[in-house]
């Protein structure tokens, strides 16, 4: 990856992090869009699994700093999702919008499953409701937002060769 492409990827990552801490609290939805997951997934497919795990861990730790009661759960989930995305990039990262959407959906859902499991706060019906209802809805919202953002950021992330 060239220096320019790296810089653009970092820029897109920063932009998504900013969106996560501005748009998401402003909207205040019950099934929020997770821009951090989108950022980690988009970064993970451009680096090796080890680096992706590190990016995920760092991002998760930053997110966990605002929820000390679940400290580490976000880092663990992001690490898993980042590494998995990097390993599976050959399968999923084809130039297909629907596939991208599915990629984001699965990534966010997997993140939520690992997160609530590692958090150990929810049990029984509440856990099932979260995993089977709210998490898929949130994953769907994240997938839609991810696809839209990917289409908007495509010139930045994948510049055409001159």
């Amino acid at each position: 990856m060239s220096w320019t492409r790296s810089a653009r990827a970092v820029l897109a990552f920063a932009l998504l992090v900013l969106l996560h801490y501005t748009i998401r609290p402003f909207l205040g939805w019950r099934t929020p869009v997770d821009f951090l997951v989108i950022a980690v997934l988009l970064s993970a497919v451009r680096v090796r699994p080890g680096a992706a795990a590190l990016i995920g861990f760092t991002t998760g730790l930053v997110a966990d700093s605002l929820t000390p009661s679940a400290f580490g759960a976000g880092a663990l989930a992001m690490t898993a999702v980042g590494a998995a995305a990097s390993w599976l990039k050959a399968v999923f990262f084809a130039d297909n919008v629907v596939l991208h959407g599915f990629f984001f959906f699965v990534g966010k859902w997997a993140f939520d499953i690992v997160y609530v499991t590692a958090e150990r706060r929810m049990h029984g019906v509440e856990l099932a409701t979260q995993i089977l209802l709210w998490s898929p809805l949130s994953a769907a919202a994240t997938a839609i937002a991810g696809v839209v953002l990917l289409l908007m950021l495509r010139p930045v992330l994948e510049p055409q060769a001159a």
């Binding site: 090796r48 795990a53 966990d64 580490g72 590494a83 590692a118």
Partner: protein, 369 residues
């Protein structure tokens, strides 16, 4: 090449395992240690993001509270509008009570319901009928003056035409009885002077003797001729003379005392009250219909009634003192001796037992006026 790939894979695995172990360790750290690390991150690396998040949350709160504030303002404005309407209605009802007190007997009060049909804007349905003594051609009054006349009567309701109706006519005179004529609704714009503003609802007084010139502002009242309307009911005020082709009589444009949109509650005079009865005393100060209306309205005021009762008691005490001293009886104002009216008593008002009815044309709370 294969060795390099294997080496890279090993590094990836090591990094992944390390990250996972660190994350798992973070989840099992003691709470104070987790809080210390999280706090450190929040105060340093994450501080700008925390600030952004706080601003976003504040922005959302402001956005939501703006909606709430707007809705509160709307509610207050709506209540204010309703308050003004209620005040107006209360004022009119007080005025009607005052008129009833001045009339004393021989009338019923009614609600005048507006009919929404096309062509029916010049008539009202009254909520009283023949069961309480209403008959056709009985006058309909408002505190300000003449409203119109009952045309058809049913047992429990009747239909009255307003003075705007093309069939309306009333024998009229100037308040000083210097000029007589017939008042009709003014249906055309022709013949007006330039200084008379165009208005939709006006009357004209026709057939005034040529020698009887009326100045603008002259009060016009019913003359009592014809037996339909008792004398002394205010009709309106002269605006100016209309130019007509008639050379032997004058026609005057009259601003009516009662505005049709204000007609909601009225008083219907019963036939026995009309026969040979003048209502001059009701609207005593016909030189100023406004002041008369205010006086009538004040008579409906309970405080004013209480004050009047107090003064009556004081006058009664004074009269007893005077009787014992052989002095003549005087009214509280000391104007003239009291004439005891033993010929008739005010009958009970039939309308006092009438159940309250809601006007179907009354606007719903919150509706735009």
């Amino acid at each position: 090449m294969a060795r390099a790939v294997r080496s890279g894979t090993r590094v990836d695995t090591v990094l992944l395992v390390a990250c996972c172990v660190m994350a798992l360790l973070a989840t099992v750290l003691p709470l104070n240690l987790r809080e210390a690390i999280a706090g450190g991150l929040r105060r340093t690396v994450v501080a700008p993001l925390v600030s952004l998040q706080e601003q976003a949350v504040r922005g959302r709160s402001a956005f939501l509270s703006r909606d709430e504030t707007t809705s509160r303002l709307d509610s207050v404005a709506l209540r204010n509008m309703q308050l003004a309407r209620l005040e107006t209605e209360n004022e009119r009802l007080r005025a009607l009570l005052g008129l009833g007190r001045e009339l004393q007997w021989g009338f019923v009060s009614a609600e005048a319901l507006r009919i929404a049909d096309i062509g029916e804007e010049h008539s009202r349905t009254l909520t009283v009928g023949s069961r309480v003594g209403v008959e056709p051609k009985t006058p309909v009054l408002a505190p300000e003056g003449l409203v119109g006349m009952v045309r058809t009567v049913d047992p429990n309701s009747s239909i009255a035409i307003l003075w705007t109706h093309s069939d309306f006519a009333a024998s009229a005179m100037s308040a000083d009885r210097s000029a007589y004529g017939i008042v009709y609704p003014h249906l055309s714009e022709a013949g007006r002077d330039e200084e008379i503003p165009p208005e939709r609802y006006l009357l004209e007084m026709r057939g005034v003797a040529f020698r009887s010139a009326l100045k603008p502002g002259t009060q016009i009242v019913t003359s009592g001729l014809g037996g339909v309307y008792p004398a002394g009911i205010p009709i309106g005020t002269v605006l100016g003379e209309l130019r007509t082709s008639e050379g032997w009589a004058r026609t005057y444009l009259v601003r009516p005392a009662v505005r049709p949109p204000d007609v909601s509650n009225v008083i219907v005079l019963l036939p026995k009250r009309i026969q040979g009865q003048s209502l001059d005393r009701v609207w005593r100060s016909t030189a100023s219909a406004d002041s008369a209306a205010r006086r009538i309205a004040a008579a409906g005021d309970s405080l004013a009634r209480r004050a009047a009762a107090d003064s009556m008691r004081a006058a009664e005490a004074a009269r007893r003192g005077a009787d014992s001293a052989g002095a003549p009886v005087v009214q509280p104002g000391g104007a003239r001796p009291v004439e005891a009216d033993t010929t008739r008593r005010a009958p009970p008002r039939g309308d006092t037992l009438r159940p309250p009815t809601r006007r179907p044309d009354a606007s719903e709370p919150g509706a735009r006026p």
